[in-house]
């Protein structure tokens, strides 16, 4: 289904004129050799523009690259473009191989473009046959070719198209690519069901993240090691797929994973791509729901946008049809050479919009000023990561979280434990730069805890037990859950201390948060005694009485401090603490 959906997407892209046809690929060509009509060297052009890290290389539509590995790789040259070994027979170390490569390069042009009456091809052939490359080697840009590497191609001096982009060449290449290969008998293709000659190897997929590296070049369908094959089949005959289908699914994938793609998200270790069955506006805004909020851009009201896609079928603009299917594919590259599917989700746009909307509802909690009410999935994951380092998030957790949001199921259970662990681990931790104490009960953590608890109560997940009234968006004085109440109490005790000794370095939070939330009986009796001392120090008597009253209200109904709080009650403790603190500072 995954590859079939990708195949369908390619057909769509082809209709919309957004992909190259079979036999071609988009390729960065940093260097172009400019020739005149006689095949004489004119110039060596550098197509890169911009500065520093953002420097971008010109992209061209070139004949598809050949697969080459192993000892005989020199025999396989790309048509009219390749690296310097093939194009001019130059190598820094291995001159013999470079010479052989160069011969294959010329051979390939002669073989594929035989008898083609095209000026460009003639010029290139003549240039290569004469083989006088002094002009190129002496050119100032040549130093970059040697240092940076990359591909070279050809252009005629009075044209803008590369030689391999000239109409006659393209026609020939397309004809060769779609012609039926002899040798292998046709088989039913598992994507289209049609009888076709199966592709032996599949094109590599670029752009899936692997351990913080930007891109990787790997395959999603490959059968390299002996244990991967079955029934005595070699390579991709294990999964017969016609060449056309193979081309379309790899092209669709590579388009979605492209550097410029707006249909790609990085979530933890997974690279997530998404697309719709037919053209639908959600494709262009979906990334915003989960991506980082851009600085300076006003916060979008996601709920309003989502409500649009949940609209009834009748009377909506065709591009908002909520029954169109939405596909989401999470990929990871656990090995150098292979890509694995982490998750795959498909459902009507309406369902996706509903599930995302429910996620934002669950997550919603009184936000501190200057914070967006919509936390990105990266912010959420960073909140449970050690040292804010996303790489410390367990490998499956990010993908599972994303999946839970999209499918509308319980959030993965390790999330709650992780959030509480981070809160406890970071109490009394100092910011290494400023030396001030870092807040541990952060907005993102509390929002996450709240979402987990609320969702589990709603849909009956693993943490639903012992819920009573669930935690809300902001302070709920009617909530009688002991965890929630103790959280509130703790916030007030801390505030009392702060008012008694303004500018104090470490508060009770830094020493007692962990104990208070996990084993209240070990912390609260002591804290209550401390509070009495603090109250006597507060000069404003009215204030002191108010605090006393507030504490009395919260303690109403709590006769004994519990011996310990369950994980979910520790979560409610954090939420109660956060809510109360927001209120104290809001006033």
């Amino acid at each position: 289904m995954i590859l079939q959906a990708l195949h369908g997407y390619y057909e769509r892209l082809l209709d919309e004129n957004r992909v190259v046809p079979q036999g071609f690929q988009k390729k960065e060509i940093p260097f172009v050799i400019v020739l005149d009509a006689e095949g004489k060297f004119v110039d060596l052009e550098d197509t890169r523009s911009g500065e520093g890290r953002n420097r971008r290389t010109g992209r061209f539509v070139v004949p598809q690259s050949v697969e080459r590995t192993g000892d005989n790789a020199w025999q396989k040259a790309n048509l009219l473009w390749d690296h310097k070994g093939y194009v001019v027979g130059h190598s820094d170390t291995d001159h013999a191989t470079a010479k052989k490569q160069h011969e294959s390069f010329l051979g390939r042009i002669r073989e594929v473009l035989k008898g083609l009456p095209d000026e460009g091809v003639k010029a290139v052939t003549r240039f290569l046959e004469i083989g006088d490359f002094q002009g190129i080697l002496a050119h100032p840009t040549w130093r970059d070719v040697v240092a940076k590497g990359g591909s070279l191609s050809f252009r005629l001096s009075d044209e803008t198209l590369l030689v391999c982009e000239r109409p006659a060449v393209r026609q020939r290449v397309a004809a060769v690519a779609t012609s039926v290969e002899s040798g292998t008998p046709p088989q039913a293709c598992l994507i289209t069901g049609e009888s076709a000659v199966p592709a032996r190897t599949h094109s590599p997929i670029k752009g899936v993240r692997r351990k913080n590296k930007t891109t990787t070049r790997a395959k999603i369908v490959s059968f390299k090691l002996p244990a991967f094959g079955s029934y005595g089949k070699q390579q991709s005959l294990n999964a017969p797929m016609g060449r056309r289908a193979e081309f379309s699914y790899t092209t669709a994938l590579n388009t979605l994973l492209d550097r410029d793609s707006h249909q790609k998200l990085i979530v933890g270790d997974s690279t997530v791509i998404f697309w719709t069955e037919r053209r639908h506006e959600i494709e262009s805004v979906f990334a915003n729901f989960f991506g980082e909020q851009e600085k300076g851009v006003p916060v979008q009201d996601h709920k309003q946008i989502l409500a649009l896609y949940r609209a009834p079928e009748s009377g909506v603009r065709p591009e908002l049809d909520p029954t169109i299917r939405f596909y989401i594919l999470g990929l990871v590259a656990p090995n150098e050479a292979r890509i694995a599917v982490r998750f795959w989700y498909t459902g009507p746009v309406r369902e996706v919009a509903e599930n995302i909307g429910a996620h934002f509802d669950d997550l919603e909690i009184a936000a501190p000023p200057k914070w967006s009410p919509y936390l990105s999935i990266r912010t959420l994951l960073r909140a449970i990561a050690t040292r804010n380092d996303l790489d410390t998030v367990p490998p499956n957790l990010a993908g599972d979280t994303m999946k839970a949001i999209l499918v509308g199921t319980s959030y993965p259970s390790p999330l709650l434990a992780a959030a509480i662990r981070r809160i406890r681990a970071e109490q009394s931790q100092k910011d290494p730069r400023t030396g001030t104490l870092t807040p541990n009960v952060t907005y993102a953590r509390v929002a996450l805890i709240k979402a987990i608890l609320v969702r589990d109560t709603r849909i009956g997940g693993p943490f639903r037990l012992n819920a009573g009234k669930e935690v809300g968006m902001s302070l709920d004085i009617g909530n009688t859950n002991v965890g929630y109440r103790l959280g509130r109490l703790f916030a007030i005790l801390e505030k009392t201390q702060e008012e008694a000794s303004p500018g104090i370095n470490a508060t009770i939070r830094d020493r007692f948060y962990g104990a208070a939330s996990a084993t209240p009986i070990a912390a609260f009796p002591h804290l209550m005694k401390l509070k009495n001392h603090h109250l006597t120090k507060i000069e404003n008597r009215g204030r002191a009485i108010n605090i006393e009253k507030l504490i009395g209200e919260i303690m109403d109904g709590i006769t004994d401090f519990p011996v310990h709080l369950s994980l979910q009650d520790q979560g409610r403790f954090a939420v109660g603490y956060y809510h109360q603190r927001q209120r104290l500072f809001g006033n």
Binding site: T192, N396, G399
Partner: protein, 243 residues
């Protein structure tokens, strides 16, 4: 036997398990399962309980009782195969870099909590002798299935996902899906695309009961469609099965 291939009466077998992986051929390295049980997996379950050269199982329908749920797992596997031509090897060999030599970490996207009803019958093959009549095998199958007997433990796609099974006897009501979700094809039929039907083996190279796979052993595919929680399986020789 008569010239018409003798067929058995229909059987219904319920199979269920904690996990399942009906591996898609295109994603069998980093495994991804089909959404539902494939006909060949169902055949495998039936053959685990009863198989004789004289019969061949034909799966006709598979009912899906549980909603389709997924689980992703990463695990270590061995990357080589034993073959008669090797002198053998130790799978725990350590390479020069001090790491296990034959290990590969492979990811898998498996199904979770599956429950199916397989509807099938068997027909006689060319190897059926004069004493092999369908009634004999029918009785054998029912007896074995009821007692939980099997040649090897039936499994759900992969050996490690053992299946529990129980026959549904005549007159017993068919179990119904737990929830009538759209992904089981309840609101409208759900198209699953081309699904593996089975591998059709080429027997021409076989010698003395030993099958050797050739290039002519071809997988067959059919368009799978879920309708009201049911996957209808076409007969193996029908034009719907492409190979």
């Amino acid at each position: 036997m008569s010239e018409q291939k003798a067929a058995s009466r229909p059987f219904r077998l319920r199979v269920w398990g904690r996990n399942a992986c009906f591996t898609r051929p295109e994603m069998k390295v980093e495994r991804v399962s089909y959404d539902v049980m494939t006909p060949s997996a169902a055949r495998g379950v039936l053959e685990a309980i009863l198989w004789k050269p004289a019969i061949r199982w034909i799966v006709e329908r598979i009912d899906i009782l549980n909603p389709i749920r997924w689980e992703s797992v990463r695990r270590n596997e061995v990357d080589i195969k034993m073959s008669p031509n090797t002198n053998g090897f130790w799978i725990d060999d350590i390479g020069n870099d001090g790491k296990p030599k034959h290990r590969q970490q492979r990811a898998g996207l498996f199904l979770r909590d599956v429950d199916y009803v397989i509807h099938a019958r068997f027909e006689a093959t060319d190897l059926a002798g004069p004493d092999d009549n369908p009634t004999k095998f029918q009785e054998m199958f029912l007896r074995r299935a009821e007692k939980g007997q099997c040649f090897h433990r039936p499994y759900l796609g992969c050996r490690e996902f053992a299946a529990d099974f129980a026959p549904i006897t005549n007159g017993e009501p068919l179990p119904q899906p737990l929830e009538q979700t759209p992904d089981l094809g309840f609101a409208q039929p759900r198209d699953l695309g081309w699904m593996l039907y089975d591998v059709f083996h080429d027997r021409s190279a076989d010698t003395s009961h030993v099958h050797t796979c050739t290039d002519e052993c071809r997988p067959g595919f059919f368009t799978a469609r879920l309708d009201m929680g049911q996957l209808r399986v076409p007969p193996p020789d029908s034009p719907e099965v492409r190979r």
